[in-house]
């Protein structure tokens, strides 16, 4: 593996992790924009814009884009999160330039009004689709209550009313500001020809303008003032779905990896404390704990789904499990979790598509490169004491924000 980085005069970063043994190349534009960069009047615009980027440019129609991706045999898609919008394509090496050419063109979309009106219907369908699915909006609602007036409180999809009310002009100005050359990273992984990638980027992306940006970080108070609980009632649901959030290390915190290891010990999908107590016993359909990190904040998210009447007792039980963990983790369970993570890092490292996201997001957020070897070495240095320290520092058992969705009614 070889890491390469160059920057165009307009500020566009181009990075690549080149692998001799890969059979394919994965390429993507990572735009430093997402729900957190919106306000109430444009809620959902980042995600809607992600759809509109596939609707064409001044010289390409939506159909042209779909035809060209399929013609090069690309596996292409995009996603939008709280902090990022990512467009990517995995192709055979000989299609590298074709893929970059198309992706780069798409970064300057036409944003035609008739396409905007048609696509608005697709977005509204997507909102309804998620509304019919577990956890029935509990995740969005929990984040809104947890982060309150912090930008991370915002919903990625927006609401039916915010999407209905959104004018195309608002999207155009959002695009102009957020898709500035220095706010994008072009990342590549796998069987990449970096010199050719640079030549493509110079040719296609040099004309892009840059506009100055304000700092996206907003300080977040990690000590909640009180516990919050909310309920979304869905009579037709068979199970109750709970989402519980407490603060955790942010992405620039040196405890970021330790927090992830701790989450594996406590609440991995199998072999964890929550698993043995709640899932293996058949008490819950699902119980898990994850650590998510953002630019300026982090969260431990606990998810539970179970029979409605068991919900409160199981949420109490989870607190007991977390309390027991603060009293001491065993060396063997920490090692078991570490071995799992090490193996995941190695296996994910063999797939260019999976490497692309780690590579692009790390650079996009922290401006640095971490190899698979760096991640493995960091995991090896984390001790049981580190996990105990995090448990003491971040107080998973204390004031949390919890949202339930399912048949349970509000009192």
């Amino acid at each position: 593996m070889q890491f390469r980085h160059e920057q165009l005069p307009n500020g566009l970063d181009i990075i690549a992790e080149v692998s001799e043994s890969a059979h394919s190349a994965s390429l993507g534009f990572f735009v430093k924009t997402g729900a957190r960069d919106e306000n109430d009047s444009i809620s959902g615009v980042s995600h809607f814009l992600e759809h509109m980027v596939f609707k064409g440019t001044d010289t390409l129609s939506a159909e042209d884009i779909n035809l060209r991706f399929d013609s090069m045999g690309a596996s292409a898609n995009a996603f939008t999160s709280e902090e990022d919008t990512v467009y990517y394509a995995a192709v055979l090496p000989e299609k590298q330039h074709d893929a970059i050419e198309l992706l780069a063109a798409m970064m300057r979309p036409a944003l035609r009004e008739d396409d905007f009106i048609t696509e608005k219907q697709v977005i509204l369908e997507e909102i309804k689709m998620y509304d019919d699915q577990p956890p029935f909006g509990a995740d969005d609602q929990c984040r809104a209550l947890f982060f309150k007036d912090h930008p991370l409180a915002r919903s990625v999809l927006g609401t039916e009313s915010s999407i209905q009310a959104l004018p195309v002009e608002a999207m155009r100005s959002y695009h102009e500001e957020r898709y500035s050359a220095d706010n994008l990273v072009l990342a590549a992984s796998g069987a990449v020809d970096f010199d050719s990638l640079m030549a493509s980027a110079r040719q296609l992306c040099s004309p892009w303008q840059s506009v100055s940006h304000c700092n996206r970080k907003v300080s977040f108070s990690t000590t909640p003032s009180k516990a919050i609980t909310d309920i979304i009632t869905r009579d037709q649901a068979a199970l109750e779905y709970a989402v519980r959030m407490t603060p955790g290390p942010a992405e620039d915190n040196s405890d970021r990896f330790a927090a992830k290891l701790l989450a594996v010990v406590l609440g991995d999908d199998s072999g964890s404390r929550l698993y043995w107590d709640l899932v293996d016993s058949g008490k819950a359909e699902h119980a898990a704990c994850h650590h998510h990190d953002f630019l300026d904040a982090g969260i431990f998210v606990t998810q539970l789904s179970c029979e409605p009447e068991a919900t409160q007792a199981l949420l109490d039980r989870i607190i007991e499990i977390y309390k027991a963990a603060t009293k001491g983790l065993t060396v063997s369970e920490v090692d078991q979790a570490r071995n799992k993570l090490l193996s995941r890092v190695v296996l994910a490292g063999e797939r260019p598509r999976q490497r692309l996201f780690s590579l692009g997001l790390e650079w996009s957020h922290l401006g640095r490169y971490r190899s698979v070897g760096d991640d493995l070495a960091t995991l090896d240095t984390i001790s049981r004491e580190d996990l105990h320290r995090i448990l003491c520092e971040w107080q998973l058992t204390e004031l949390s924000t919890t949202v339930l969705a399912g048949p349970l009614q509000k009192d």
Binding site: S19, S21, D70, S71, M72, S281, S343, L347, P352
Partner: protein
């Protein structure tokens, strides 16, 4: 691309498949026992008590302790060896799989041999295992797309092919520990078992170890599956959801029939990729839905094409009409450009499969099950190259679509025209 494919057969009928993949550190292994959920139906006789979900419950219980390890020790040994393990049940197979750094392979194979040959089937673990299966069933109740596809399978396939592998709540509640014991005795057998391995691999070492772990395992012959009735052709599942879910199925040849290449290429023109007809007409031009697609589902002897879309209730009728129109108007209209795109996507998929040891191990096992051999990448690519619009059109003309099974899940039923015509 030079490929190293290996096969071997143990005396008891177990097939070993292997591929050395250069440039990877990992190896993936998968075990496929001919003990899928079809066997649930074989177990119905003689008492006539339906046992839908028994294969799934058996798989769950087999992982709860084997050899000299109890449930926790078993999971701990797999986790400590860095094995990303999984267990699943399909119609035809109960499968156990693991992906790991290659030096852990010998140790993990010993654990898998215990799971397959020496499961504890601990009575204390039976109720919790049953609860896990019941919890999963309750979870799928809340997944409208999954429920729609289950209803479609049940309506379209002759029994028992449409029965849900995950089981039914009523049947799982009635299962007993003795059922699992009997299932293991009758179906967890070496006959027709496929063990597939791909990645950084020493084939000779692997086959020697497999011979010592599995070579002395003797079993009995398979029992036949008896086909029953099909369900209703049009079926509405009432559900209080914002979206109406539409699913369609029709017969196509199974994978081992050479014509399946023509059928699946036609299906890819219809609903594979973002330039497919369904995606273009239903989503891109009309904005009727977020998801719409068509795909292929094959068993050894029967197969179906399945199309799906989820959309708001008041636009569901139009969505269904457009989908049926696109399906009916396919014959006689496929272009060379469309076929070229299908080929390009399929070729990329085949080559990229070489980057995932788990995908390769699974794909080799599937080919062996359906064809009794593994096709090389070169052969697969050649078959694609030789595919022509004429051969697809010829197949479509010879096999006109006469019947489509239609399922809706949502508040209201939709109208289905009597005949499928362009």
């Amino acid at each position: 691309m030079k490929q190293t494919l290996q096969t071997a057969t143990l005396d008891n009928g177990i097939t070993l498949l292997g591929e050395f993949l250069p440039g990877v550190e990992s190896v993936s292994v998968s075990f496929h026992v001919a003990a899928g959920s079809l066997c649930d139906s074989v177990m119905h006789s003689p008492t006539n008590r339906s046992r839908c979900g028994l294969a799934t419950l058996t798989g769950e219980l087999m992982l709860r302790g084997a050899g000299n390890r109890n449930s926790k020790q078993l999971v701990a040994s797999l986790d400590n060896a860095g094995v990303q393990w999984s267990q699943s049940v399909s119609m035809s197979h109960g499968s156990f799989a693991g992906a790991m750094v290659s030096r852990q392979l010998p140790e993990s194979l010993e654990i898998y041999a215990d799971i397959l040959r020496r499961p504890l089937l601990d009575k204390q673990q039976f109720d919790p295992a049953r609860q896990v299966v019941l919890q999963n069933l309750a979870g799928t109740e809340d997944d409208p797309t999954h429920r729609t596809m289950l209803a479609l399978r049940k309506a379209h396939y002759p029994s028992p092919w449409g029965l849900p592998s995950e089981g039914t709540t009523v049947d799982v509640n009635n299962l007993q520990h003795s059922d699992v014991q009997e299932f293991v005795n009758r179906f967890i057998q070496p006959q027709d078992m496929i063990i597939s391995v791909a990645g950084r691999l020493d084939w000779l070492e692997f086959t020697n170890q497999m011979d010592s772990l599995f070579g002395d395992w003797q079993g009995q012959s398979r029992e036949p599956v008896i086909n029953g009735e099909r369900g209703k052709k049009i079926c509405h599942v009432p559900y209080d959801s914002q979206q109406t879910h539409i699913a369609l199925a029709w017969d196509v040849p199974p994978y081992r029939n050479p014509d399946s290449l023509q059928a699946t290429a036609a299906l890819a023109v219809l609903g594979g990729g973002s330039s497919s007809r369904l995606f273009t007409e239903v989503r891109e031009k009309r904005g009727l839905c977020y998801s719409v697609s068509a795909g292929y589902q094959t068993q050894r002897d029967i197969a179906a094409a399945m199309a799906y879309s989820g959309t708001t209730a008041d636009r569901a009728q139009e969505t269904l009409d457009v989908m049926l129109h696109e399906i009916a108007s396919l014959p006689g209209t496929i272009t060379n450009e469309e076929l070229d795109r299908v080929k390009a996507r399929a070729k990329s998929g085949l080559v990229m499969q070489q980057e995932s040891t788990a995908a390769r191990a699974g794909a080799m096992a599937r080919q062996w099950f359906h064809l009794g051999r593994i096709r090389s990448l070169a052969e697969d690519l050649e078959r694609l190259d030789n595919l022509t619009v004429e051969s697809i059109e010829h197949w479509l003309a010879q096999n006109p679509l006469t019947e489509v099974t239609t399922v809706f899940l949502g508040r209201n039923p939709l109208e289905v025209p009597d005949a499928v015509s362009p």
